[in-house]
């Protein structure tokens, strides 16, 4: 049997052409996407494991000799598919700005301080139940030049592989109650307001570390799947 990954509902993902986010105008394809029935290359995918992780990759506050500035936070959650099945043993990659809203990147030159003790990159594997956990600092908001006085709400970039090429997802995690949502064309590019809220983490007091760190829970849902028959001459199963 071949798994078949269901498409997400139409309003879950942003339209590629979202003119409020100016960079989409010259980059979004103008031809309609061509439908591709899923075959072997689409229902398989890279299963990248332990070999890609360093000891402190999940703890962004311990990657240097000193501690970064900012509010320490735990960010954790479950990765599941659209049928609620845990996605286990799957690589989760994150990156973010520091507490002042500055990225450690040559192209980020706005006048907020860099932090010598913060790179802003993390990696983790999901466990058998799909759980992942990072320790980091609360990222700051930052200005960009998309429109007059534009500011990105604080966010953490998440990259997920799932178990198949078809499940690949890159998203951003936002923080509850951010006053900058109203003017952010990237957050608001998601048409369905309920889907948009699925990018907002939940403050999770039960998971805080007393006298150490606050906590947020961010669950991620990748595409669900069904099975269809597969005919093949040298099928050895």
């Amino acid at each position: 049997m071949l798994p078949n990954y269901r498409p997400d509902d139409v309003d879950v993902h942003p339209p590629l052409l979202s003119p409020g986010y100016r960079s989409t105008v010259a980059r979004a394809p103008r031809q309609p996407l061509t439908y591709l029935p899923q075959r072997l290359t689409e229902i398989t995918g890279p299963l990248l494991g332990e070999g890609r992780l360093g000891e402190h990759d999940h703890d962004l506050t311990r990657q240097h000799d000193g501690e970064p500035q900012g509010q320490r936070i735990i960010v954790h959650g479950r990765v599941r598919d659209g049928d609620g099945r845990p996605v286990s043993g799957s690589l989760v990659e994150i990156w973010q700005a520091n507490a002042a809203g500055r990225y450690r990147h040559a192209s980020d030159t706005w006048p907020a301080p860099l932090d010598p003790y913060f790179d802003g990159v993390g990696r983790a594997l999901t466990d058998d139940q799909g759980h992942y956990r990072f320790v980091t600092v609360q990222p700051g908001a930052y200005p960009w030049r998309n429109h007059d006085n534009a500011w990105r709400p604080a966010h953490i970039h998440f990259s997920l592989f799932g178990r198949a090429f078809t499940q690949r997802l890159v998203t951003q995690m936002y923080f509850p109650g951010d006053p900058l949502f109203f003017q952010d064309p990237i957050f608001n590019s998601v048409p369905d307001p309920d889907a948009r809220q699925r990018m907002v983490a939940r403050y999770d007091h039960a998971s805080t570390a007393p006298e150490w760190a606050l906590a947020y829970e961010f669950d991620i849902v990748l595409r669900g799947r069904e099975s269809t028959p597969f005919e093949d001459g040298d099928d050895d199963e």
Partner: protein, 190 residues
């Protein structure tokens, strides 16, 4: 069947994707020195013809025997025929919009409908200004017989098929990606 959950929306990787996604060994689908390995190189262009310098290409492919080391391959998972073969590659674009992948040619694949898929790589394109990844396929121009019967290529308008063909180059193959406009690359909904 359990309760359906709503999917998490996609968002752009943004201009600072390199922080989280750059791997020193990213472009190496196979280790350097692998017999028969070649480079796939190409540039990414936007609708104005400008090079896209803040994008990333990811690739996924079968091994030279047309097998995947993956439990969902119905023929069974099998360790790769080439030592160190990862099947997966990723390369950010440089200041001129170039990406590069070192790999070997995948084998043909049996198609669920009884045909045969020509050797190909599946590609994801991520970048600033792309709110969702783009998916395309890279086929090899020096496989005309296999390409002629490939079910995916045959489903693409004849006058756009050449956008999916990598052409022979001095150290491998050349495959440019045009996000928009004249000779726009065919992108797929999977």
């Amino acid at each position: 069947m359990s309760e359906r959950l709503g999917g998490t929306p996609a968002q752009t990787v943004g201009p600072y994707l390199h922080i989280g996604l750059r791997w020193p060994d990213g472009p190496y689908v196979v280790p350097e020195g692998t017999p028969g390995a070649f480079w796939i190189r190409g540039r990414i262009f936007d609708g104005t013809g400008a090079a896209v310098v803040d994008a990333m290409v990811e690739s996924w492919q079968a091994d030279p025997d047309g097998r995947f080391d993956h439990p969902d391959d119905p023929r069974g998972a099998r360790p790769p025929a080439v030592p160190g073969f990862r099947g997966f590659g990723r390369s950010e674009t440089d200041g001129q919009g170039w990406y590069r992948l070192l790999t070997v040619k995948p084998g043909p694949l049996p198609d669920p409908d009884g045909g045969t898929e020509a050797p190909h790589l599946s590609l994801s394109v991520l970048g600033r200004g792309l709110l969702h990844r783009l998916v395309t396929r890279l086929y090899f121009a020096d496989e005309p017989a296999a390409n002629a019967v490939d079910p995916v290529l045959r489903g693409v308008d004849a006058d756009r098929r050449e956008t999916l063909l990598a052409s022979p180059a001095p150290d491998g193959f050349r495959f440019d990606i045009r996000l928009q406009g004249d000779r726009e690359t065919v992108f797929f909904a999977v």
